[in-house]
């Protein structure tokens, strides 16, 4: 493996585009050969000739022939990706970094807190936990988004609600008449849930501001630094621990993360930016 070209992407065919919300789409890719990743690891997705950006797959790590990547329109590359149609050939490098440490979750209650497009990596984790549900006590999924239209993965949520051991809570910042669930920022859901904190771990993924307040709330509830896992979003450009763009204090997020336990990163500078 050592003399492979680390910069050359694997080709992958875009086979389906799913509109999840007005700003978020999922892209189903068929890599030219089987592609394995652990849940929480990320890939570099190339739009030929335009650019490359890091994304954590939102599909199950148990599926090897297809991979789904959920992307919010948020910048130059993602806007162009949003215009793609099935048939397009894209590039993938990876998988990179350290994903969710499932072995540390086994035997516990798992509190999963997600916001906006941060649901994407969490869905991959939830798929994985579904397959391993005999090994966990309970999974509580709390999800917040801007408004009902921006709530993604609606069919998936419906299925998850029916699943034994899984509880789902949702909230939106701005409700409309169609909305029958909670209203307010994602952290309000944490007041609704029942959880045995001593026997639990929490996983958080979302926009930086939501992660910051989510962690503060979890700590307030009694979670310790070592019980909270975060998926950090930095500018992982090479994915190889070289280009320097994703440095977060002493860490290369691309190699040491993107999943960190809160105690590992709480003293590093600018983690919420």
């Amino acid at each position: 493996m050592k003399d492979d070209n680390i910069y050359k992407p694997l080709r992958a065919k875009l086979v389906e585009v799913i509109e999840e919300s007005p700003t978020i789409k999922s892209f189903v890719l068929e890599p030219e050969r089987e592609f394995s990743f652990a849940t929480g690891q990320f890939v570099e997705l190339t739009l030929n000739g335009i650019g490359e950006a890091p994304f954590t797959p939102s599909s199950s790590p148990l599926v090897k022939d297809k991979m789904e990547i959920t992307i919010m329109k948020a910048g130059y590359v993602t806007e162009k990706i949003h215009k793609l149609n099935p048939g397009e050939i894209m590039g993938i490098r990876g998988p990179y970094g350290r994903g969710y440490p499932l072995e540390e979750f086994y035997g516990k209650e798992i509190m999963v807190l997600g916001g906006g497009c941060g649901f994407a990596p969490l869905r991959s984790l939830l798929y994985n936990l579904e397959a391993e549900k005999d090994r966990v006590k309970k999974v509580t999924f709390c999800y917040g988004s801007k408004n009902p239209a921006e709530c993604i993965y609606k069919p998936y949520i419906d299925n998850l609600r029916k699943m034994d051991k899984f509880e789902v809570y949702r909230t939106v910042d701005e409700a409309d008449e169609s909305w029958a669930e909670e209203v307010g920022v994602a952290t309000v859901l944490l007041d609704k849930v029942e959880v045995n904190i001593d026997d639990s771990v929490a996983v958080v993924c979302g926009p930086p501001i939501m992660m910051k307040f989510g962690v503060m709330k979890l700590l307030e509830m009694g979670y310790t630094d070592k019980q909270i896992y975060l998926s950090m979003e930095k500018n992982m450009s090479c994915g190889l621990g070289k280009c320097g763009h994703c440095m977060m204090g002493e860490y290369f997020v691309c190699m040491d993360g993107p999943v960190f336990r809160y105690d590992e990163i709480k003293d590093q500078p600018n983690i919420w930016k």
Binding site: D3, K234, K242, C243, H245
Partner: protein, 337 residues
């Protein structure tokens, strides 16, 4: 000093011309008051500068060009012979090798260039205003990462091998010139020069904190000193560009899934910006401090090799007249570490 060979200055001129034919041969040449590597041929072989610190361009540039297509097939190239690398630049290869060769992902383009090069190191026989290698445990004469070491002494050139490649090269030189064992007196003179220069450097930098203490001082510092020193920083990135250990890069996409690795710097605005416009290094003083933290606080936790080898180029090149060592001395005087 180990085995030293000697060759006369007259014979050396013949050797140079032979080398220029067999290799892409680079050596330091003076121009307009500065000195930098030039491609050597018969016209400029006589202008080569010996044992003077230090070429403007850091050695890293030979192995990590400013721009390189990192998806192209590796090409057979004429081997490169790089003469005149100072000790600070050779020592800086340690962290580059750790990063590009020995981590989980090897950069085949870097590896290929390293393999395809012969490095001739120089003893420094004088210092420039901002040289401070000795403060970081590096001597002003190469002790590692060279294939041959070259010292000019009056009418003789003294050579020492530092690797199998260097030994093979010495053998090759015997075909073109008379190579003898160096005189004991010459070796003694070199050793004296070395000791003298080391002393001068140590004296000159006696108030400069060492590498580890610099890290501790930076870690304990408050924002004021960074705001003050960053006030003349214009984010030009010259400090990082010219640094022998700074190699952060950008990957640029081209059609046909080509990727270009281009030298980048944390001092440029937007370096760490992510989609959605969050940018941890948005404020200039934070961005300015980042480079110091990276070199003295964070890289030491990640790598075995040091991330500043004391060449002083960042001080010489700064158009904002920011003096890294002045900053570190100020931190040291405030904190008495």
């Amino acid at each position: 000093m180990g085995k030293i060979s000697s060759i006369s200055a007259t014979d050396w001129q013949t050797v140079l011309l032979n080398l220029a034919r067999s290799y892409s041969f680079y050596a330091p040449v003076s121009f307009n008051g500065s000195m930098d590597y030039e491609l050597i041929d018969e016209d400029n072989a006589g202008e080569i500068v010996y044992n003077h610190p230090k070429p403007s361009t850091p050695l890293k540039t030979f192995f990590l060009p400013v721009k390189e297509n990192v998806t192209a097939d590796l090409k057979e190239q004429k081997p490169a012979l790089i003469m005149g690398a100072p000790s600070c630049d050779l020592a800086a290869l340690d962290i580059l090798d750790e990063m590009y060769l020995n981590r989980d992902y090897t950069d085949i383009y870097y590896k290929n260039r390293r393999k395809n090069s012969i490095l001739i190191g120089y003893d420094c026989q004088s210092m420039l205003e901002n040289c401070h290698c000795t403060s970081y445990g590096i001597n002003p004469f190469p002790e590692k990462n060279f294939d041959l070491l070259l010292i000019k002494l009056d009418d003789n050139l003294l050579l020492q091998s530092g690797s199998a490649k260097g030994t093979a090269m010495l053998k090759e030189l015997e075909n073109h010139a008379r190579i003898t064992e160096a005189e004991e007196n010459d070796i003694k003179r070199i050793e004296e020069k070395r000791a003298d220069l080391r002393e001068v450097l140590t004296q000159k930098n006696n108030k400069l904190p060492g590498y580890d203490s610099s890290g501790r001082l930076i870690k304990a510092s408050d924002d004021n000193i960074w705001k003050s020193y960053a006030s003349t920083c214009v984010s030009c990135g010259a400090c990082a560009t010219i640094c022998p250990t700074c190699t952060c890069f950008l990957l640029i996409d081209r059609p046909d899934f080509e990727k270009i690795r281009q030298l980048d710097a944390c001092q440029y605005p937007g370096f760490e910006r992510v989609a959605g416009d969050e940018d941890p290094l948005e404020e200039l003083p934070v961005r300015f401090k980042n480079r110091y933290q990276c070199k003295y606080v964070w890289k030491p936790l990640k790598f075995k090799s040091i991330a500043c080898t004391g060449c002083g180029r960042c001080i010489e090149t700064c158009i904002g007249k920011i003096n890294k060592n002045e900053l570190l001395r100020e931190l040291a005087s405030e904190n008495k570490v």
